[in-house]
Symmetry: C2
Subunit: 401 residues, 2 copies
């Protein structure tokens, strides 16, 4: 299940080549190994999971990124190489060294990434044996294959491009992402790779990425669970020659980037495990943005709210319950609640004009916006989520069996 | 579904009479109205929901309890009288006045309670019309009928008794509880009523109740959702003549009370919506109890952990993930994890001797203990939870339809 249609169109990014091959981790000739190659001089920014059990490749990637500019990303799906201790780090480094030998780069110019089952030893030989084929496949137009190659429980690839003209030159941003469960990113999502041909220095790039993630991947939840492998990378090849480090060029680039990042993040929710609804929860009128976020996540993560969404049931009592448990100061007698444009609650009580028929009509839609006005201030936050269906239970009860 | 067998045996409490009748809120002649009558001179303690949307009867009960000793509890099921604003409070007061007229007590000697659908107007006339029949039914041995009368999505009544001899006299404690979903109590559970014939002054009684709730109802979760109507009441009639306010008598009473409260709280989890497993999550070796509790709830409320429990899947990666997202300081490289007596993780990595077969064998049990040792200090906390099954989704997708 997934909500809405997904586009598979994209624009290649000058300065970026990719390849994806099956290496045998997922089996049945499924694509499960991906290589990115970036033009020398590219800059790369990254944000990573805050989990106490950050996976081995996350630790190695952060370390390598701090030392040098990245030339290669090596990504496998099917095995997360997480909770694997020192052996896991050693396995990730072995893979980096193998890429280094194949390509003539330095080992710490290679960033490793993994996604899949936690706690299993990485199949290093499967990966190193496939590297010659992988390198031979590197091409600028392999983005869609790469989007397939990083999938686990995803039902479809997530890919998105934006182009605009800045200083009379065309600038492209293209990104791919994966993730369907274990989704409440904390500083990043499962895996996302975005590249542009704009010129951006590393400090600016990191700032733009962090800002953009806080409006996109850090505002989505499928099941409130945070992955050990979350990584979101942004690379600028500079091949377009367009300097976007400041001024109007930077503003134009930020607008383009934020738009693309939001679409990729939404693509994860639309393909959330078992999702039949795509739901925006907007909380406004807060004294602080943190308060709005707390209330929005209380609603978006409530199992009772999510099962009501699955049933298209305008069960406004569950919205009330979820707001009520949020750990923030608020005045219940001031709160208004809307689903779509239908007012359910006014000033803390049932809106007299509300009818079950009106609520049922708006809940029947595949895409729903729940709006809560706390009427205490000016702050606003929005998070995006999916519903809790039988399919979610089936997927997660049967994942390993 | 429910886990294990439930006893329906109980001992009456001298000084307490009860009755339950159908008044038409739940329909089909189901018991949905309950009256407790306490001997004059009884003391009552209570803890209530911390929800911002505390229901009207919760607000009235807290107010009445602060003014006088309670003589009557009036409880309806099927309608929560929550998020009903000023009209809801007025409806609750009307019910108290009607009980007052029937019994010759004062209106604020009556505490009202409601449980059921949120946001609907209370059917006051159904309740007031049934009061004469209800009063006529008052008897000491009607505890089991009362346990039925407070049920909503519960599949079975929850009732428990304890007796002991203190100062050569028999002392009895008997309690009933209800709740199956919207269960992560915050200072109380959905509804629980416990009474004893011990003599206890109100201050001591309140202290004993709060302490006991923090080891029982405040340590359970079915779905992480906190009700608007949570109330847990403890009444001491003093009819036994046994003074339990201090010394060894108090100690003996506390032991009995804590034991009974834990059993009632566990009964709610065992009958949790869709429950097929009863799971204790014990986190030890913490620097502070709050840290242990945070980690325990991160595991107990993780949808991915709960679906793995439903599938009897020893998916230890999900335990790792859940610990990893807990918002506390910890050292991943020190953590040990056990399911039953099987060690899955030692010092942050997979235990070398662990086998999937051993994990599968222990996960197949209906009752499971997950133990996490943080190895940082001496603090310990335990919470109890159930799994996330298809039945949970079915119950909550179809509750109002």
């Amino acid at each position: 299940m997934a909500v809405g249609e997904a586009s598979t169109e994209f624009e290649p990014v000058p300065g970026v080549k990719l390849a994806s091959v099956p290496c045998g981790i997922k089996g049945q000739d499924q694509l499960d190994l991906v290589l990115f190659e970036f033009e020398p001089g590219s800059t790369t920014a990254g944000v990573f999971t805050q989990s106490h059990f950050a996976a081995a490749p996350v630790i190695i990637s952060k370390d390598h990124l701090a030392k040098r500019s990245a030339r290669y990303f090596l990504i496998n799906s099917g095995n997360a190489n997480a909770a694997t201790g020192e052996a896991g780090k050693s396995d990730a480094l072995t893979c980096c060294q193998a890429v280094s030998q194949q390509t003539g780069s330095l080992p710490d110019e290679v960033l490793p990434f993994s996604t899949g089952v936690i706690g299993e030893k990485l199949q290093v030989e499967h990966i190193t044996n496939a590297l010659p084929d992988l390198k031979a496949e590197l091409k600028e137009d392999n983005w869609l294959q790469a989007a397939h190659g990083i999938m686990t429980t995803d039902t479809r690839p997530k890919i998105c491009s934006r182009q605009t003209v800045i200083n009379d030159q065309s600038v492209t941003i293209t990104g791919i992402a994966k993730g369907a469960g274990m989704i409440q990113p904390n500083m990043a999502t499962m895996l996302a790779y975005v590249a542009t041909d704009a010129q951006l220095n590393q400090t600016v790039l990191q700032a733009l990425l962090e800002n953009s993630v806080n409006q996109s991947f850090n505002r989505i939840t499928v099941d409130s669970d945070t992955s050990t492998n979350d990584s979101c990378m942004l690379t600028a090849t500079g091949v377009s020659g367009v300097d976007c480090n400041d001024g109007p060029a930077r503003e134009a680039f930020v607008e383009l980037l934020d738009d693309l990042m939001r679409e990729l993040a939404h693509a994860i929710v639309r393909d959330g495990e078992g999702a039949t609804k795509f739901v925006a929860v907007e909380v406004r009128g807060g004294k602080a943005r943190e308060d709005c976020l707390e209330v929005a996540y209380a609603i978006a993560n409530s199992p009772l709210m999510k099962t009501a969404l699955f049933a298209s049931d305008a069960n406004w009592g569950r919205i009330v319950m979820a707001i009520g448990k949020a750990n923030v100061e608020l005045d219940a007698s001031k709160i208004d609640v809307f689903v779509g444009d239908v007012c359910l609650m006014r000033a803390g009580g049932r809106e007299p004009a509300y009818t079950e028929a009106a609520g049922a009509a708006v809940m029947a839609h595949e895409e729903i916006t729940i709006t809560v006005d706390l009427n205490l201030g000016e702050a606003v936050e929005t998070v995006w989520t999916s519903d809790l269906s039988h399919e979610y239970v089936t997927i997660n009860a049967e994942y390993r069996t």
